[in-house]
């Protein structure tokens, strides 16, 4: 290992190791590890997606047709755990691995061997977690939030908690690495306030990760000792408090949802200026808005708990704090629109996904504002209205931004252009189906359909059927995405230029396409005109 790690320093300008095992399993290269993260997250996206297909198939019409209720609960639980910890988070870490060093002019991540470890923990963690589905007693079925006492009734608690510990360790190491890279390895002249918004968003996200992953670890460890070692943290009969778990969980959980959206803000803030050919509007306001949202994320957790019977004072505090988030989020949306205003726009696939992100994420934000109103939340809470809300911010928000990023940087990663026609087909198919899938769920929730139920009254039948059709359609559309990526990487004949997009600015476009195994061995010279946000004055 020591040999492999020091090897790079002795020989300049050599390529990747030829040996497959050495290249991918023993890699310390930020680009290869980034690729591993992205491929892993795509695999998890399809596994988590297949669970969603089971859910939508059972909900296609009233009556139980396909699965037992307990298995249905395993599916909803696993779908969430896999999508959150397996698809969205690793995808963002993969993008950070690939792009942060390229964007700040660093030769690699600050801690390359830890980088390898933080990735290779993940396949083991998810094998452990997914294996519970094949065990007697089944997988976790108490929801991804794992509220006790229900979650303690399962047989898979120990497996899932160990898997979550592993994922947490991986995330914390990834976050340390990103912070160390951004703070220590920027090229001379790349001041903090000259960094691309994506790098800023990840710097802030990484601090959120370090702050809250240990809190999750603590919460699940208490679950573990409650179940196996006779403690009573959350056991009312032993003097504990089940609501304590919810407070601890959501103290992690709310920053967690911003961990899944702040890097998306960063991505969209890179893509829109590129295709509008105009610098991002209000760069400093954008950075400040991300920081404010991150700060507020720590003081709003109990808005997930409006219906647990909090004292009125607490409800009022958490309601006000939550509503406040609308202000910096609004600033971001207005600034994206202003970036487009007066630009010279073209609508390649990354831009289409970025625009869809702004519109559909904003719709998710609107339902979020409505959910913040505590008295109204007494109705919305734990209904399909909430399901619609968080899928608008996570699927058309986080996942769309990741897809946009993949299209945007695929030419840089692979050296080829993807097929624009099929990219556009993928976009239109996805954007229509995702609304068919999730928009009717608002109506279902308002009409009174609770979440996490495998069967429902006939009054909810039509919208559920529409939603399921949208679900199958959206799921199938992602196979187009897979096809476009495979075509681009292995079959596309169209070479990508170094600056793959006409309006693209930033250091990553100054290196060749595909980006060579080692970049910026010598720190680049920074020209302010070359930066995505132009001159930052005043």
């Amino acid at each position: 290992m020591a040999h492999a790690a020091t090897h790079d320093d002795h020989h300049e300008h050599h390529g990747a190791p030829k040996n497959f095992f050495q290249r991918w399993v023993m890699s310390t290269n930020h680009k290869d590890i980034g690729t591993l993260y992205l491929v892993f997250s795509l695999l998890m996206f399809f596994i988590g997606g297949s669970f969603a297909m089971v859910i939508r198939a059972e909900l296609f019409k009233p009556g139980m047709q396909l699965v037992q209720p307990y298995f249905f609960n395993e599916m909803t639980t696993m779908h969430a755990l896999v999508m959150i910890f397996g698809a969205i988070m690793p995808a963002f870490v993969g993008l950070a691995n690939w792009m942060v060093p390229l964007m700040v002019g660093a030769p690699d991540m600050a801690l390359p061997r830890m980088n390898n470890l933080s990735f290779w923990i993940l396949p083991f963690a998810f094998t452990l977690m997914l294996s519970t589905l094949f065990m007697p007693g089944g997988g976790p079925a108490g929801g991804w939030t794992m509220y006790p006492p229900l979650s303690l009734q399962g047989e898979s608690t120990a497996y899932v908690i160990f898997a979550i510990h592993l994922m947490g360790i991986s995330s914390i190491m990834g976050a340390i690495n990103i912070i160390a890279t951004i703070l220590n390895m920027r090229a001379p002249g790349m001041d903090l306030l000259k960094m691309p918004v994506f790098v800023w968003s990840w710097l802030i996200t990484a601090f959120l990760l370090i702050a809250v992953m240990p809190v999750l670890a603590g919460a699940v460890t208490m679950l573990l000792t409650d179940k196996y070692f006779g403690t009573n943290f959350f056991n009312a009969a032993g003097g504990g408090d089940p609501v304590l778990y919810q407070h601890i969980f959501w103290f992690f959980g709310h920053p967690e949802v911003y961990i899944m959206i702040l890097p998306a803000f960063g991505i969209v803030s890179e893509i829109i200026p590129t295709f509008a050919r105009k610098p991002i509007f209000g760069y400093r306001a954008m950075v400040f808005a991300i920081a404010s949202i991150a700060f507020l994320s720590f003081i709003v957790w109990a808005h997930h708990m409006f219906a647990v019977g909090l004292p009125m004072g607490a409800e009022i505090f958490f309601m006000y704090a939550t509503m406040l988030i609308a202000v910096p989020t609004g600033v971001k949306v207005f600034n994206w629109v202003s970036t487009m205003w007066g630009g010279s726009m073209t609508f390649e696939t990354p831009m289409l996904f970025a625009i869809a992100f702004v519109i559909l994420f904003t719709i998710g934000g609107f339902s979020g504002l409505m959910l913040a109103l505590a008295p109204a939340d007494f109705q919305y809470h734990d209904t399909y209205f909430v399901v619609a809300h968080f899928h608008y911010v996570l699927v058309t928000g986080a996942a769309f931004s990741i897809i946009a990023a993949a299209y945007y940087w695929l030419p840089k990663w692979s050296g080829h252009m993807y097929n624009e026609t099929w990219g556009k087909i993928h976009f239109w198919s996805s954007v229509i189906s995702v609304n068919v899938l999730f928009f009717p769920q608002h109506f279902l929730g308002l009409a009174g359909m609770p979440r996490r139920i495998p069967d429902y009254n006939v009054a909810f039948a039509n919208f559920n059927m529409i939603s399921s059709i949208g679900g199958f359609w959206f799921g199938a559309s992602q196979l187009i995405f897979l096809g476009v990526i495979i075509h681009c990487v292995w079959f596309s004949k169209k070479k990508a230029a170094d600056r793959s997009w006409e309006g693209a600015k930033g250091l990553e476009w100054t290196v060749p396409s595909p980006a060579p195994h080692h970049t910026f061995d010598v720190p680049p010279v920074i020209h302010d005109d070359e930066l995505a946000h132009g001159h930052v004055e005043d």
Binding site: D241, G282, I316, G448
Partner: protein, 300 residues
């Protein structure tokens, strides 16, 4: 697009939205229902919900409208040349301050709603609700200042729904009906009977895991948590049958523990309560006789 065009499209949108969302008067889920129920209780978040919805609709029209105008006007294919500006303190102040003002108004309305919701004083009746896997228990605690003697019962999914909902039962959920209304998974063997025009305090607890007691027509849900006593109140205006479901994941049959509240005029309720109390007394007496001198027959 001209400003007249914008005004016309706004009007068209508003008209469509009115048709879709206006005049919602359902108490129980109706097929293709789009909006929240106005509720049958004195307290309802419906008005706040509508204010929030309209605020979002109007902001949405403005923001998305601006985006679409930008997308049509500033296209490279139409020869648009990118401008250089990237900053405007005035604009940024405007779109920070205006949302703050809107939020303050919303916060004021919501706070009023919370204050009235939290006030369970002056209740004339108390019902204890206990959530179990997977049924509810109702115990009548007091009525008009007098303790109610031993009136309490379990309430669980009624049988035809229960048979129909079994995996591959091949039974048709649309056939589960009461008076022409489909009650599949929304009907119980024994409903909670309460009087109208009475402020009723519910005390809500969990018997095993966390459940959540939710009847949309009453305007709220409240978690039923082991070891914690939650309270909430309602004052139902109209007689009727109000249906709801458990709203907190509580295990495999979470989807199969409905709630039915039957609201009746006060006189009818008092009569019902007396009958229940008498039956309870008779049952208790019978049990005592059975203890002292074991008898084979059970009058229960």
């Amino acid at each position: 697009m001209t400003s007249g065009g914008i005004r016309r499209s706004v009007t068209a949108w508003a008209a469509t939205a009115c048709a879709l969302f206006g005049g919602a008067a359902w108490a129980n889920p109706e097929p293709d229902q789009l909006n929240m129920t106005k509720g049958a209780s004195e307290w309802s978040p419906y008005a706040l919900h509508m204010v929030g919805l309209w605020v979002c609709v109007v902001i949405g029209i403005l923001v998305f409208g601006a985006m679409f105008i930008a997308m049509f006007r500033f296209r490279k294919s139409r020869g648009a040349v990118a401008e250089k500006w990237s900053h405007s303190t005035k604009l940024e102040l405007i779109w920070t301050i205006i949302p703050v003002i809107i939020l303050i108004v919303l916060a004021k309305l919501a706070t009023n709603g919370l204050v009235t919701f939290a006030d369970t004083t002056g209740s004339e009746m108390t019902v204890k609700v206990t959530g179990y896997q997977w049924k509810w228990r109702y115990d009548y605690v007091d009525y008009k200042g007098k303790a109610v003697d031993q009136v309490g019962f379990m309430s669980k999914l009624e049988e035809s729904s229960d048979r129909t909902r079994q995996l591959k039962s091949n039974m048709d959920p649309t056939k589960v009906q009461v008076d022409g209304y489909n009650t599949y998974l929304l009907d119980v063997d024994k409903p909670l009977v309460v009087p109208i025009g009475t402020k009723i305090r519910f005390v809500i607890v969990g018997g095993d895991v966390i459940h959540s007691w939710w009847v949309p027509a009453l305007g709220w849900k409240m978690d039923a948590i082991p070891g914690i006593v939650n309270s909430a109140w309602t004052n139902i205006k109209e007689p009727g049958v109000y249906r709801g479901q458990c709203a907190e994941l509580c295990g495999q049959d979470h989807g199969f523990m409905p709630i039915v509240v039957k609201a009746v005029p006060k006189a009818e309720f008092e009569q019902w309560l007396t009958t229940q109390q008498d039956e309870a007394k008779a049952a208790k007496a019978a049990a005592q006789t059975a203890q002292t001198a074991p008898a084979p027959a059970n009058q229960g």
